[in-house]
C-alpha cells in the first residue's frame, strides 16, 4: 500500500477510520518508519493543544462571574411547568374515552367534579398564605429556606456569610433565621445579574426589617419564573411581581430621558450629519442605532449607580473580602460594557462629523467609587440627553463641540471609576 494521506493517519489515531480501512493503515504503519514519524509529529501537536487547554484556557480565561445557580431549584421549576400540561392531557384523554359511551355520562360528570375539586385544592395548596392576601393586582411569592429543596447543592462558593444563612434548617421556624445582611442583598444583585435582570428591567431591590424585597413591575410570567429560579437560593427574600398600573410612579426611573427646556432644534448639527449620510432614511437608521446604544450605555450607568446607592462606603465595609470582590466584579463588568458602548457611540458619531476635534479627557478625583459612580451616571445622562437633542429626539441646542466635550467628561469619569475599581 502507498503512504496513507495525513487525514487518514489522524483519523486512524483518533479511531475514526472505517473498520474496512483501519487494518491496512495499521499494517502500513508497522512497516513504514516515515509514516510513523509523521504520526508522531501529529501527536506532538495534539499534546501541545491538550497542554494549551489545561494551562492556558483553564487558567487564564475569566472565571464565572457569579456563583452557579441552584440547578435543583431550576429542575423543580422545570418539573412544575412540564407537569401541568401533562396532567391536563391525561384528563382529556381519560375523559374522551369515557364520552364514547353515552351511558357513562354520569360517571364522567362525577369524575369531572372530582378532578375540578382536586385541581382547586391543588391550586390553593400551591399558593402561600401571602398569595391569598386580598390584593387583586398583586401576586406575591415568598421564599423561605425551609421551602428550598432538601438536596440543595453544596453552598455556593465565595458568597455565603460566615453564619451560613444557606444552611438547611429543616423545620426550623423562620424567626430563628438571622436577618438579611448586605451580603445577602449582594447575592440578590449577583443572581439578578446572572439572568440579565439588572439592566434597566423594572426590578427593584430593597432591604427592611431583616428581609430583602425584590419587586418586579410588569414582568411577563416566563421571565418571572426565570427570576424566581435565579433567586431561589437566597434566604429572607420576598419576591413580588406587580402590574405596572399599580405603580406608575415607581417606574419613573426607567422612563425615557426628560426633554430639556426647548429652545430650537439642533438643525445645524443634524444637517451636517444628513449631508454626510446622504438621505433622510440613512439618518433615521443611523440615529436609531445611536439611541439603541445610548440606551444600552445608560442601563449600565443605572446599574453601577444602583450598586453605589445600595452599597455605600459603610455598608461595603461590612462585607468580607470575597464579597467585596464580588461587588467589584459586578461593577467592573458594567463599567467595561459602559466604556465599550460609549466608545462605540463616540466613534460612530465622529465618523459622520469629519474634522471635529476631540478634547482631552479630564479625570476627576472622587474619594470613593460610590462618589465616582454618581458622577459617572450624571456624565452619562448628560451625553444621553445631548444625543437625544443632536439626533432630533428632543428639542434643544447642540453643537458638535459641546457633544464631544461631554464625551470627554464621560470618558474621564469612566477612567476615574475604573481607577477606584481596581482589584484590592
Amino acid at each position: 500500500m502507498k503512504h496513507p494521506e495525513g487525514e487518514q493517519l489522524l483519523q486512524y489515531a483518533d479511531g475514526e477510520l472505517a473498520s474496512s480501512e483501519a487494518p491496512a493503515v495499521r499494517a502500513h504503519l508497522e512497516a513504514c518508519w516515515e509514516c510513523r514519524m509523521e504520526l508522531e509529529e501529529y501527536q506532538k501537536t495534539i499534546n501541545e493543544c491538550v497542554r494549551y487547554r489545561k494551562y492556558v484556557l483553564q487558567v487564564h480565561l475569566p472565571s464565572p462571574p457569579a456563583p452557579w445557580g441552584d440547578i435543583h431549584r431550576m429542575f423543580t421549576e422545570a418539573d412544575a411547568s412540564l407537569g401541568r400540561p401533562a396532567i391536563f392531557t391525561q384528563w382529556r384523554a381519560a375523559l374522551s374515552g369515557i364520552f364514547v359511551g353515552p351511558r357513562k355520562w354520569a360517571a364522567a360528570s362525577l369524575l369531572l367534579g372530582v378532578v375540578l375539586t382536586a385541581a382547586t385544592l391543588r391550586f390553593i395548596s400551591e399558593r402561600s398564605p401571602e398569595q391569598l392576601a386580598p390584593s387583586p393586582t398583586e401576586q406575591r411569592m415568598s421564599i423561605a429556606p425551609s421551602e428550598l429543596p432538601k438536596h440543595d447543592l453544596p453552598a455556593a462558593p465565595a458568597l455565603s456569610a460566615p453564619t451560613g444563612p444557606n444552611t438547611p434548617s429543616d423545620g426550623a421556624p423562620q424567626v430563628l433565621l438571622p436577618a438579611a445582611t448586605a451580603a445577602d442583598e449582594l447575592r440578590v444583585f449577583v443572581a439578578l445579574h446572572l439572568v440579565g435582570a439588572d439592566l434597566g428591567e423594572p426590578v427593584q431591590i430593597a432591604r427592611s426589617e431583616g428581609r430583602i424585597h425584590v419587586t418586579g413591575i410588569g414582568i411577563e410570567p416566563g421571565r418571572q419564573s426565570r427570576i424566581l429560579a435565579a433567586l431561589s437560593a437566597i434566604p429572607n427574600l420576598d419576591v413580588r411581581f406587580i402590574e405596572p398600573s399599580a405603580s406608575a410612579t415607581q417606574t419613573a426611573e426607567f422612563a425615557a430621558p426628560a426633554t430639556q427646556g426647548a429652545t430650537a432644534p439642533a438643525a445645524g448639527f443634524q444637517e451636517q450629519i444628513l449631508r454626510q449620510l446622504g438621505s433622510r432614511a440613512a439618518f433615521e437608521h443611523f440615529s436609531n442605532q445611536i439611541f439603541e446604544r445610548s440606551e444600552s450605555m445608560m442601563s449600565r450607568a443605572y446599574a453601577i449607580r444602583r450598586l453605589a446607592q445600595r452599597f455605600p462606603v459603610e455598608v461595603e465595609a461590612s462585607l468580607n473580602a470575597p464579597e467585596r470582590q464580588m461587588l467589584l466584579d459586578l461593577r467592573r463588568q458594567h463599567l467595561t460594557m459602559l466604556d465599550q458602548e460609549s466608545n462605540e457611540i463616540r466613534r460612530t458619531t465622529q465618523s459622520v462629523l469629519p474634522g471635529v476635534s476631540i478634547p482631552a479627557a479630564t479625570e476627576p478625583r472622587p474619594a470613593s467609587w460610590q462618589a465616582a459612580s454618581e458622577a459617572l451616571f450624571q456624565a452619562a445622562r448628560q451625553v444621553e440627553r445631548s444625543l437625544a437633542i443632536a439626533f432630533g429626539a428632543s428639542a434643544g441646542d447642540m453643537t458638535s463641540d459641546r457633544l464631544f466635550t461631554q464625551f470627554a467628561q464621560l470618558k474621564g469619569n469612566i477612567d476615574a471609576t475604573r481607577r477606584l475599581t481596581a482589584p484590592e
Binding site: E7, L10, E16, E48, V56, L57, Q58, L194, M337
Partner: protein, 226 residues
Amino acid sequence: MLRIYRHTQRPKLGKFTYTASKKSFSLRGVVDLAAKGSYGGRAMPLYPLHEEITGIFGSGTSAVSLRDEVAEFFEETRDDVYRYLLTLGLFPPQAQEAAQEVFLKLYVELKQGEKILNWRAWVFRVAHNHGLRTRARQNSFIAFDPEMEQRLGSGERNPEQSLLDKEELLRIHRGIEGLSDQQRRCVFLRLEGLRYPEIGEALGISASTVGEFLRRAITRLRKEKP
C-alpha cells in the same frame, strides 16, 4: 457499575440522618471506579471525576436519580461548557447563563423521554448553537481571548509551568488565534472529547469535513514551530 450501585443503594442512603455537615460522606472512590467503565447514559468521561458528590438523597425513584445524575453531570461539566462559550465570544455573564440553560434543557429533554446517549456531546452541541445565537444578539462580542497573550506574558502563571512551557504555549496560542473559526471550533470541541460525527453535528458539517479541518489545523499549528 455506578448505575447498579445507585439503584440498589440509594434508598438505603436516604435513611441516613442528614446533619449540618454536608461533606459528611463522599462517593469519590465509587465514582472514580465507575468512571473507568460504562458511566450511566453517558460516554466515558475523558477527564478524572474529581468532584465530590455530597448532599442528601431522597427516595429511590427514577425521577430523583435522573435529577441527581444531571445535577452531578452539571457540576462536573459546567466549567468546560462555560469556557467553550467564552471561546465563541460570549461575555462571561452571558456564557454562564447560557451554560446553565443548556443543562436545564438537557434535563427537560431527558425528562420528556428523549434518548440522549452521549450527554457530553449533546450539551456541547446545544451550547454551540445557543452560544452563536446569543452572540448574534449581543451588540458586540469579545474576540477570542483578547488579553490572553498579555496575561500569558505577565507573571501570572501556573507554578507547574516552566519558562520554556510558557514560550511554547504562547506559540500555540498565536497558532490557534490564526486558525479559521471552523478549524478552531473543531480543535476545541475535539479537546472537549467529542468525536468527529458529534463535532460535525454541532457545526453542521460532515464528519469527513471535520477530519479535514482538524488535519489542516494541526498542520498549521505545526508550521508555527520555530
